[in-house]
Point group: C2
Chain length 327, copies 2
Amino acid sequence: MAKIKVGIAGYGNLGRGVELALQQNEDMELAGIFTRRDPKSLVPQTPGAKVFALADAPSMQAEIDVMILCGGSATDLPEQGPQLAQYFNTIDSFDTHAKIPQHFAAVDAAAARSGHVAIISVGWDPGLFSLNRLLGEASLPQGASYTFWGRGVSQGHSDAIRRVPGVKDAKQYTVPVQSAIDRIRGGETPAFTTREKHLRECFVVLQPGADAVAVEKTIKEMPNYFADYDTTVHFISEEELRREHAAMPHGGFVIRSGQTGEGTRQVMEFSLKLESNPEFTSSVLVAYARAAYRLAKEGQSGAKTVLDIAPAYLSPKSGEALRAELL
Amino acid sequence: MAKIKVGIAGYGNLGRGVELALQQNEDMELAGIFTRRDPKSLVPQTPGAKVFALADAPSMQAEIDVMILCGGSATDLPEQGPQLAQYFNTIDSFDTHAKIPQHFAAVDAAAARSGHVAIISVGWDPGLFSLNRLLGEASLPQGASYTFWGRGVSQGHSDAIRRVPGVKDAKQYTVPVQSAIDRIRGGETPAFTTREKHLRECFVVLQPGADAVAVEKTIKEMPNYFADYDTTVHFISEEELRREHAAMPHGGFVIRSGQTGEGTRQVMEFSLKLESNPEFTSSVLVAYARAAYRLAKEGQSGAKTVLDIAPAYLSPKSGEALRAELL
């Protein structure tokens, strides 16, 4: 059977993760990596992988079944999502929650017009976590839902620290409060403040001569990012940051605590413990690329999210095999 | 908007659970309870609920949008599934894993012929657990999947003990081995024996004059049910059994431990902690009844499983609301 030909648009952590994930899926193959940089400057991990200029992608529709967009949500995906959905079935990991309706509309317009399937906001949050929030609410209509993130590196918070005067480099970990999780698991449905759900732990390398006290105060009082949290700041050397904090672990928990009948308590929980956030996200993107390919073959088109995809489309197995082996 | 009219076929623990679950879903209403017993002998929990003879169901197609089949998998569902799919969109909780392909084929033939949607094997295992086994395998193709059940009451094992000569009554709890779960959560992918995954804990009321030693030996050596497990037998009074072991708690864990890239460990876990197994299963059945109704409205037909249902169909919310609130 012909393999599903996948293109990668953007070659950062996510693009590199998709490249590795494709090697684990026998029904798929890497058709090409597309970059805004000089294609010759890029060294793929896969021997023989072809690299093209992103600008040339529109001329390669025949070679690509699904294009996985691996750019960032701030500026890349709002532009590339609608643009590439004109030519390809696409998958993206757009994760600016507040702007999802807007992104969906823009991508939907392009994909519907061109007759392609575009699955947006794929990954784990949004993505598998969203799916579990829905399953929780639908299975236990009377109850409360909780999402916790971590322990893991938040890129946005690490960046925010790096912008503080006197900071040379930094890594920020979001840490869920264990006692809060334990209460929910025990069947309680408390209303938590922001501070009660997560801690923030910062590892900071100072510029020579910087004022540690002032830096710590600026971080801890930063609105939105840190002011509403119990924040710990550790000053470490550049060497220690590189040695101990180079990885990108993450994870989290979606918990639904509900009641059925006359006060019967029921708790559902989905959790992830990831040594590499981008590699896991990439792996999920690839599974949804399979779904996009199949839905397009069935004649569907337009933008979709993980909530619109029947799980069977994610697996290379047939319906018969799934029912016999997994159901 | 008109409510979805739901019929309940069979009024045991599951049927009673569905009746309660319907009260938590504002877009649905109980259209009638169908029983093989004398309808007059049945006392519904809902004031004013109508009870009909199951034999009269075929004449009530206009009054029922979805029929939820609440019979048992051993003899009721294999017969009622194909029978009622001739007249109604149906949901069932058929859970004899080995016979699912056969049940699917029989129900599919009837539902396809009559133009109805029939979702089989709905609940948590098969059901939400199956869905998570699929998500695990699709997201982490290189890895191992584990399902643990409990701590919870196994009806089949309790029944097996009750058939032992000298036993008056019994309750059996399936207990997952915590150290096994901890190893998987830590990223290992061990091959477990049956004994290493679950314990079996039995609470037994003896007949007067029965030989406790002989009963314990018979239980512990029972093939398939207990011989492959570390089994504990507690002899208790009838009064204690009634007081301490009347509830039907259950739950369990689906864990996928996989690797991405060059040996990066990633762990996904879905778990349930249920005070009442039948009430939770019922609640899931009702959510899938909503999906069956909508799919039938779209003109779909035939048998389906939870793996074939896009999650959005389970929620009363619109696509717009789901994207804005849950994604």
